[in-house]
Structure formats: structure tokens, C-alpha cells
Amino acid sequence: MNTSAIRELFPILHQEVNGHPLVYLDSSATSQKPVSVIEALKTYYEFDNANVHRGVHTLGSRATDAYEGARAKLARFIGAKSEKEIVFTRGTTTAINLVASSYARSVCGEGDEIVITPMEHHSNLIPWQQAAKATGATLKYIPLQPDGSIAIADVEKTITSRTKMVAVAYVSNVLGVINPVKEMAAIAHKHGAKILLDGAQSTPHMKVNVQELDCDFYALSGHKMCGPTGIGALYGKKALLEQMEPVEFGGEMIDHVDLYESTWKELPWKFEGGTPIIAGAVGLGAAIDFLNDIGMDEIDKHDRKLAAYAVERLQAIEDVTIYGPLQNRTGLVTFNVGDVHPHDVATVLDAEGSRCGPATIAASRSCAG
């Protein structure tokens, strides 16, 4: 991989911070954008901007083609069966909330169980807390091994015939660990439960195939995979999305409107009330092209090489504690330096020109934010 040529494609990296060339280490919070994504947004606004799915004019068709073209690209990128299974959302959080507010509330009742893990990001925790409260279901946690990984035996023990929903990160934003989600999906399905994968940290760094994983739902964010902020998506198996009620109502999502009753459009549009995030989707399409040009297998390989290097060098420093398993992890490495507060470490690194994620570093101490 020609990393210096790729680095050249990111305009934001062509600057100095505090007198040092910028090294950006906070991609797990949000990634930087290559020039092709920035250009795609600019071109869309300069030449094609119009509302979608209705204009009988040229720009309207162009905008619709661009928006739906991005959906088809994303469907191929994550291995969905059809683009009808891709709902555009504001990001991973909105995608998970859609499932928690619609699907989970329709299938969960008193005594049922929703199963998650202690390593979940707040976006894959709070929606389930709320769904459990609203339905009387019990929220259960699969315990973690001392190194932060998930043991299949614990998954087997935690998921029962009362479990209706399992939600877990494919890759943890706290520990960088890649979870055994395919095995977890099989166990969930054995008990008749559905599984949602939080794909915010996995989609940018490895080849994802939702059909191979056999997950029921998959949530992702555009801004973590070189795309713009404000766009993300929910993948759902067609049969499940079809049985789900929308949670947002208004224009763009209706089929037929009467004074007292209305009907919804077919998939995926019934979940996309209001003018959608058109430019965001176009930008996400450009980001997918960018990642595909490099190749997800190449990115995965490079990531693991970097992670192994980072772990090796950090281990050589006295007083540095690394969190999470040393194997089977992505390029996200969480550590503490002795008893120095992570905020102080991040400030020192920032003064040297590297943008580090204090939230991610702090996560090892207090939260999964």
C-alpha cells in the first residue's frame, strides 16, 4: 500500500499543528475526508442539487439517480441482497434507535430479554435500556473475559429462549477487539432471537458481508469511513424491515394520504420521512468508491500491521498498559500511561501535532463513550 500517496489525497493533513506536521489518530471518532469525497459534495451542490423522488425536471432526476445510486453502492459494499434492505439514516445512532423503537418494541414484552455486552458504545446501549423500560423486557449483559474478549460459552449461557434481541459491536470502539459475531448470530437464531451488529468501527476497516455474517440488522456511519457527517445507514433483512412500522412520519415516506388515514411507501422509503440527506448519501457513495479503489482486504491487512506495530512499541514503554486482547483486533489501541490521566496524555500528544482521541483513551477508565 502506497501510504504516502494516499496521505496526499487528504487535504486536511497538509498542515502543521503546534509547529509539527499533523498526525491524525482520532479516526475512530471521525475519519478525515479524501479530496474525492469533498469534490463529490461540491459537484452535487454546484450541478445536481434538487429534491428527490418527485421533480419532473432534469435536476430532480439527476439528484434521485445520485441518491439511489449511492444506496445501490452501499448495498453492494456490505453484501446486502438488495438495495431495498438499505435505509439511509443520520448515522449509526439513528439506525440503532430505529430498530430499538420499532422492531424491539413490537416483539418484546414482560419477561422477554434483550442481550448486549458491557463493551457497547452508548449508541448501542441507551436505545436498549429505553426499549427494555418501555416493554418490561430485561436487559442482560454477556460478561467479558479478563482481556475484554467475548467467550462463546458465555454467549451460550446468556442467550435463552426468552431472548428476543441481541445487539453487539462487530468491532469495539473501546477495545478494538473483533467480536465473534457470526457465531453469536447463529446462537441468537437457534433461540429465535434477532441480532443487530453495530458496524460503526468495522465497516471502515474490513470487508463486511451481512449475508455471510447472517445478521438481521447492521448499522453504520458514513463519517467514520471517509464520508461526510450526517449520513449513515441501517441494513435489515427484507422480511424484518417489511414488518416494522416507521417511527418518523411526513413527506417522502407516504404512499397514499387521506384526511384520517395514510399508507406508507414500500421499502426502504417508508423509513425515510422528510427530505433525505441527499448530499450526504452522494458523499458516502464517493467514500465507498475511495475505499474500494484501495481495496478493503488491503485496508484490513494494513490496519492489522499498524495495530501489531503500535502494540509492540507501546509494550516496550515502561508504565504503558494496553487494554483489550492482543490478538484479533483492529487498528484501534487503547492504553494508559502509568497513573497519568488520559486527558493529560492527550494534551501532550496534541502539542506534538497528533490528534488523539481523549474520549477513546478516557474510555478505558470510565465509559464507553
Binding site: 486527558h343 493529560d344 494534551t347 496534541d350 502539542a351 481523549p358 474520549a359 470510565s366 465509559c367
Partner: protein, 145 residues
């Protein structure tokens, strides 16, 4: 922007050897809990207030060098001050964080002036002072009641 401006010796001294760390017995004081959800910093501030004066203040908490040293200095500085004097000090501290140069009788506080050049860290330094403001409000409320 120099790191030395941020991590002055006096700040590190308050961080390593915090003054007034601990808690009073229950019911003896006004108590305020504050946290900073973005970084997980937490402080519980207790103040003994009598006749409109802060007799003593103590804190417990968890956080970075800036937030904890600031709490250490603040609890020392307000000792013996009237509530209004303490509030004025909190105002002056806000000024310090904006790059102004107010004078403090408790001079150690001025070492925190460097924080104003690190916008991401201002909320660390102000956590204890925001707790102080809430404590003053609470004490004044109790005085009126």
C-alpha cells in the same frame, strides 16, 4: 503554545498533594456533585458555611491534573471568605480562563492562566469553580429559608 505554560510546577504540586481532599460528616455542610460527561471527570464539593462565610471546603473526585489541582486551589482559596467574596473569585477565575489577568490573593491560582491557551482544557479547570457557584447558590438559598 507551550506545554510548560500548562503544567507548571505549582499545578503539579496541587495535583500530587491535593489540599482539602476528603469529606465532612453528613449534614455538616452544603454538598454539590458535578461531572463532566465528555471526559468522565467528577467532583463532589462540600462547604461548611456559617453566618454567610465559608468556614471550610473539602472535595473528592477523579480527573486530570488540571481539574484536580484547580479544585485543590479553589477549596484553599475560599476558606474564610464571605459567599459574595467567593462568588467574585469564581467570576475572576472565569476571566482568567478568557485570557484576562485578574489578581488573586491566593496566588497559586494564577498558575492556571496557561489553561486559557488550551481551549479543550478550560472545562477541566472550571469544573470545581462551577461546583463552587452551585454551592454558593445553595447556601444562599438555605440562608433565606
Amino acid at each position: 503554545m507551550q506545554l510548560d505554560d500548562l503544567y507548571r510546577r505549582v499545578i503539579m504540586d496541587h495535583y500530587k498533594n491535593p489540599r482539602n481532599r476528603g469529606q465532612f460528616g453528613e449534614g455538616e455542610s452544603v454538598a454539590i456533585d458535578l461531572n463532566n460527561p465528555t471526559c468522565g471527570d467528577r467532583i463532589t464539593l462540600q462547604m461548611k458555611v456559617k453566618d454567610g462565610k465559608v468556614e471550610a471546603a473539602k472535595f473528592v473526585g477523579e480527573g486530570c491534573s488540571i481539574s484536580m489541582s484547580s479544585a485543590s486551589m479553589m477549596t484553599d482559596a475560599v476558606k474564610g471568605k464571605t459567599l459574595d467574596e467567593a462568588l467574585q473569585m469564581a467570576e475572576n477565575f472565569s476571566g482568567l480562563m478568557k485570557g484576562e489577568h485578574p489578581e488573586f490573593e491566593y496566588e497559586d491560582i494564577e498558575a492556571l492562566s496557561g489553561v486559557s491557551k488550551f481551549p479543550a482544557r478550560i472545562k477541566c479547570a472550571t469544573l470545581a469553580w462551577n461546583a463552587l457557584r452551585k454551592g454558593i447558590d445553595q447556601a444562599k438559598g438555605q440562608g433565606e429559608a
